[in-house]
């Protein structure tokens, strides 16, 4: 359990560090082509080698981390920002028509295949990293709404909520002061999981050309561009693939570790 937390934290931390560092420094200019140096295997000069335009793969992977993390982060913020208040509202008005509308609206969004909707959004608004953020973010909303409502319902029947109502507090204030802090651990864990799913989704959208557009580097597009040359220079495809794999693995381990550490049901009984 500690192991998962440590390993997950290290992997996710590495990806995050690469993304942050790429904002101020990369070994080479990731956009600079050098056809003479194309498809070089990893070496001292180019740790991860070069691609078919002779660009430095390490620099591109670092910038790709930035793109992935930015898209996934904004998508999680959109999902939490709308999903958590909706879930709190549904829990506060449980059993009423408000609850029905919120939860059936959730079902509606859940019912659509997410990739199809993402394609629809990008088809209407044009492919870009921003539209990928919005598309992925929309699918995070019902996830957070459901988790929030499910976690909030058992809190609402506790005596300290009744005591707060006797103290004249309304549903909004109670949700904010009592319910939200007591389910925060669960939401943090869910955010980690959605973050890793967001990275996967961004890679998928970029892979089919609906995410970040050139020249912005992206792991998904690096993978797509490398696939024709996979027999010629396997490292060009393997490295962005490993980046996705290790980051998602790290975030999942981190999520599991956090859940074990934060979930009140797994804590020592009072």
């Amino acid at each position: 359990m500690r192991m998962a937390l440590t390993l997950g934290g290290a992997l996710a931390g590495l990806a995050l560090a690469a993304a942050v560092l790429s904002a101020v420094w990369t070994p080479y200019d990731a956009g600079q082509m050098a056809i003479a140096d194309k498809l070089r295997p990893p070496s001292a000069a180019h740790w991860f080698g070069t691609d078919h335009f002779g660009r430095d793969i390490l620099s591109m992977a670092m910038l790709g981390a930035q793109t992935s993390m930015a898209v996934a982060l904004v998508a999680v913020v959109i999902g939490m920002g709308l999903g958590v208040p909706l879930g709190l509202l549904a829990a506060a008005r449980r059993g009423t028509w408000v609850d029905e509308i919120v939860m059936r609206g959730n079902d509606l969004v859940f019912a659509f295949p997410s990739l199809v909707i993402a394609i629809l959004i990008t088809a209407v608004r044009g492919p870009s990293a921003l539209n990928a953020m919005i598309a992925i973010g929309i699918f995070n909303i019902p996830v957070f709404a459901r988790v929030t409502r499910g976690a909030a319902l058992p809190v609402w029947v506790l005596d300290y909520i009744r005591a707060a109502r006797v103290s004249g507090k309304g549903a909004g204030l109670i949700s904010l002061q009592h319910v939200l802090p007591n389910i925060a651990g669960l939401l943090i864990v869910q955010a980690t999981i959605q973050f890793s799913l967001g990275i996967l989704a961004e890679a998928g959208l970029s892979y089919v050309g609906l995410g970040a557009q050139p020249p912005t580097p992206s792991w998904g597009r690096m993978l797509a561009e490398a696939q024709t040359m996979v027999t010629l220079a396997p490292h060009v495809a393997v490295i962005p693939g490993l980046c996705i794999l290790l980051t998602v693995l790290g975030l999942n381990l981190l999520g599991d570790g956090l859940r074990d550490a934060l979930d009140p049901r797994l804590r020592v009984p009072r």
């Binding site: 300290y160 005591a163 103290s167 507090k169």
Partner: protein, 517 residues
Amino acid sequence: MIRLEGLSAVLGGQPVLDQVSLDLAPGSITGLVGESGSGKSMTALAIMGLLPPGTRATGRVMLDRRNLLDLPEPEMCRIRGRRIGMIFQEPMTALNPLMPIGDQVAEALRLHGGLDRTAALALARERLDRVGLPAPRFPLTLYPHELSGGQRQRVAIAMAIALRPGLLIADEPTTALDVTTQARILDLLKTLAREDGMALLLITHDLAVVAGMADRVAVMQGGRIVESGPAEAVFRQRRHPYTRQLIAASGYRPARNPRPVPPPLLEVREAVRDYRLPQGGLRALDRVSLTVGRGESVGLVGESGCGKSTLARVILGLDPLQAGQIRLDGQDVTAGRRMPRSLRARMQVVFQDPFGSFDPRWRVERLLAEPFHLTGRPPDWRDRVGAALEEVGLQPTDARRFIHEFSGGQRQRLAIARALIIRPALIVLDEAVSALDVRVRAQVLDLLARLQADHGLSYLFISHDLSVVRGMADRVLVMQAGRIVEEGPPEQVIGAPRHPQTQALVAAMPVIPAEWV
């Protein structure tokens, strides 16, 4: 015959059991009495070989000339259930909610008895009949949620006695139940011990419970048995001061000076509250009328499901009424936002569960100051919190601590402090002392009586137990199925109950026989 000889246990460097010796003879009932943390549950767990990990036990637990403490785990697994059965306090969590009761009882028979499913179910049927869940009304296919708390405890007992163990350990088996249900469960346990020749170890915090039941009584304090012997001798002689304290605390009544005829503060007129349920409507309150005078305490007694908690909620303006009227100080009480804050501020509440009553993430000062939401937080609110803490016998420095740092009794004091802080006229006490040990309960009752005298508070004291209400109430109302069926001063209601429900409640009160006191 199981014999404990010099049983000691150490957990994390702290001694939890100290030289405990007990004889548990077939057909006899031994009452093990003490407060939370006295080591009585630890004794039970030691006999079962279920002590928490890291506990070092020494001494001997002898069964058939074998020391159970020395047996390896696989051997203990065969002894648990087959030779020693155990039931716990909480019947709600003791059963698997997804398994029919017949299968749950049969499981032990199949596991230990090596019976096939048909034979095991036939025997399970017999055991359920034995514990008072007869065949036509209680088929084996029922699920736990279709049963009441008392009936679930009966299923738990059927599971524990399925293999006819020589010893049944009952750890606070009735603390979570109504008094009337408690009386029936205790009766059942007594019958099982006497007729089946089973030894029964009855663990409880209330001496009155064992008074009518046990052959022998052992009183535990701080991991040691401080006094033991035949029940009557222990009650009559009371050699140890702790025994004397426990006896005094059981059925304790604080000193109070009731006022003659107080002017009314709370008036409930013909209140009706209906619930819509999938299987039809339920009338939780059926034209209930009552008054609570200024400075008066009114006790409201009834079994669970009689509507007393619903009544508390509508009085507090948390639930709406379908018909009737509630007036506090001449102003209408209504649910929701229409009720003015100044009116809400005249009522506060103390709940039963000292653990669920407080947000675990808040500090005490913030918790206690929460009712200021109604009145606006005064500039000197920290001093007011400090004063309220002192008033309930805690330290002003406790304000910076978190709720998990307090014991159950201290938490109930904090709940009272929270209710007091805005100086309400009426406090609704919903089973406020039911979850407390007898001695702590006596202290809290004293505190409530003093606060009432100091501030002229009115109490609506809700409980399922007449003996709790008796000491605190000027008037007692008995409720059944949403109606108030009897009303009068406590001496009259308890001494000469007229309604069958009241008679049942009086008969169920655990009392120490008058000639022993």
